[in-house]
């Protein structure tokens, strides 16, 4: 199973990238909110890339995994706050987030992963909306009233700790999820899973004939990607904001953002989501200051240009540039 250590060198630029980002956030006053937003976009891209980039399948309902993950953390804090569990609640919340997103990915995957390409995309497009209607209509977990648990957090952890959890530690966990997603991506790339995914992305029928159980490998990538999304929802949304509304967490524009980030950076690359996340996050932030309200109008043509002119994304182009040089080992 394990490959030689040098096969895992590309994790170094990832570590350095997130390290610098984290360092800036800690050291430069007043920038933590921007940095944590950037970390969220990087993590979102990294988690989404693990499935979309590696299999070539576009899951338009992807945000649903973040949504159920958010509910996983919310449910843990909302219902367990007076049980005296302390910080174990956060762990339970993360586990619930992972369990919820796994279950949802199994349910969606069992049906949708039988479909190819565009049909898969269409089949998944309603998953997030469907889940929102289910929670609102069946009034699960307070339905459309959502769950507000800032009070619960203060009661359980005390004012100081509750503040630190949502102002700082939630973002630290987001960094952790981003890095975990990168590690998983590299592990997959360097082992049979990654080769199977490359094969099925390029030519699914040929992959089958080569002895690859394509459904199994697609499902592995799908579940891994979903769990990471669930953890991201639990930290970046539930723990950070201390409330959850179904209309917020099942909004399709987060899926679109994930697609943009992956394409900007380079689908199927390890560093792509970081580069894409940074480019997208920074330009969104400053466009909102310079031309508030016009971000999407500006982004749309940029995205189209990128897809037409640079389909491999930033890192895809960089990879070609460093081919044959010593840097080749680090940039994938």
């Amino acid at each position: 199973m394990m490959r030689p250590v040098r096969a895992y060198y590309p994790i170094l630029p990832v570590l350095i990238g997130y390290g610098i980002l984290f360092g800036i956030g800690q050291m430069v006053p007043g920038k933590w909110q921007l940095i944590s937003q950037l970390a969220f976009f990087c993590a979102l891209g990294q988690a989404f890339n693990l499935f979309m980039g590696m299999t070539g399948y576009v899951d338009f309902g992807y945000v649903a995994f973040l949504g159920v993950g958010t509910y996983g953390m919310a449910v843990s804090i909302y219902y367990l706050f007076d049980k005296g569990l302390g910080l174990t609640m956060i762990v339970i919340g993360m586990i619930l987030a992972a369990v919820f997103s796994t279950l949802l990915s199994l349910a969606v995957g069992a049906v949708a992963l039988r479909l190819r390409g565009a049909y898969f995309a269409i089949a998944t497009i309603g998953v997030n909306e469907g889940f929102r209607f289910l929670i609102e209509g069946a009034r699960i977990w307070n339905g459309s009233d959502g769950m507000i648990f800032s009070r619960h957090m203060k009661t359980a952890f005390g004012r100081e700790t509750a503040m630190a959890l949502s102002m700082k530690w939630a973002d630290v966990i987001v960094f952790g999820v981003a890095f975990l997603a990168a590690v998983m991506t590299l592990l997959y790339m360097r082992n049979k899973v990654g080769y199977a995914l490359t094969a099925l992305r390029e030519d699914e029928d040929a992959a089958k004939v080569m002895g690859i159980n394509v459904t199994r490998y697609k499902l592995i990538a799908f579940i891994t990607s979903a769990i990471l999304a669930g953890l991201l929802g639990a930290s970046a949304w539930a723990l950070k904001l201390t409330y959850v509304y179904p209309t917020d967490v099942f909004a399709i524009h987060y899926t679109v953002e994930a697609i943009i980030i992956v394409l900007l950076g380079g689908a199927g690359t390890l560093l792509g989501p970081i580069v894409g996340g940074l480019i997208y996050g920074v330009s969104k932030y400053y466009l909102a200051i310079v031309l508030p309200g016009f971000q999407l109008m500006i982004f749309a043509p940029i995205i189209i240009m990128i897809i037409v002119l640079f389909p491999e994304g930033t890192v895809g182009i960089l990879k070609k540039r460093v081919f044959g040089t010593p840097l080749e080992k680090f940039i994938i």
Binding site: K192, A196, A199, K208, V209, G211, V214
Partner: protein
């Protein structure tokens, strides 16, 4: 004992009977060709053997295992390899990775590590003579090189039966002769049965096969040693129409 037994296999697409009650055998280490004009059902027969889709009727037995209902990847694990008429390399992967993927997931798959598969790939890269392209993406190769990569990829699967779909289509006579020699050579070194599909390059059949199966309109027309099959009047009729004297009679 036969390597593969096809027993009364039929496949229909709607009203069209693409393969009609076909029965034949392939022996261990045999060089065989499935021949027939366009639309005879050769490709469908190949797809039935390696499991791209299941047969409607009949059975397919590979090394005493009834694989009729097995999906393609399981048949690959048992040792059925396949190349396509238009080569389908994994374009973004390097030549080496392409071939290694065959080793990783083919008949030897579960025991082979990624590193071992890479070594295996290097071995086959030497055989096909594409050493200088080893780390290039397979998508950028010439058609003939892609064909070679595809054959190497199938060989890395360590199959006992290799189905080669029109390996010679679109090649010039010199390339055809080289390919025929290459196919004979890999049969000898790998000790596997190779079934080639040939539509009209009869020049190649004699060198490629010890035995020929001719298909016509989905059904088996002849199953004979190569020389007899090529001079069989029924085969000539399928390809050229009736001889003039009979047409007048």
């Amino acid at each position: 004992m036969s390597l593969l037994r096809v027993e009364n296999v039929t496949k229909r697409f709607g009203g069209l009977v693409a393969v009609d009650d076909m029965s034949f055998e392939i022996r261990h280490g045999e060089l065989m060709a499935i021949v027939g004009p366009n639309g005879a059902g050769k490709t469908t027969m190949f797809n039935l053997i390696n499991g791209v889709f299941p047969a409607d009727e009949g059975r397919i037995i590979f090394e005493d295992v009834d694989v009729t209902r097995y999906p393609a990847y399981k048949r690959a694990h048992l040792g059925i390899g396949r190349t396509f008429q238009i080569p389908r390399p994994f374009a973004s992967a390097t030549v080496r990775e392409n071939i290694a993927i065959g080793g990783m997931f083919g008949a030897a798959g579960s025991e082979i590590s990624v590193d071992r598969a890479m070594e295996l790939a290097d071995h086959y890269i030497d055989i096909i003579g594409l050493k200088e392209h080893r780390d290039k993406p397979a998508g950028g190769l010439t058609p003939v090189e892609k064909k070679l990569v595809e054959i190497a990829r199938a060989l890395a699967m360590k199959p006992r039966l290799l189905l080669m779909d029109e390996a010679m289509a679109g090649m010039n006579p010199k390339d055809i002769d080289e390919m025929v020699a290459f196919i004979r050579e890999i049969r000898d070194t790998e000790g596997i049965a190779i079934v080639s599909m040939v539509e009209h390059i009869m020049r190649a059949v004699a060198g490629l096969a010890e035995r020929v199966i001719v298909m016509h309109q989905g059904a088996l027309l002849v199953d004979e040693p190569t020389q007899e099959a090529l001079s069989d009047p029924r085969v000539i009729e399928v390809y050229l129409g009736q001889p003039p004297e009979e047409a007048h009679a």
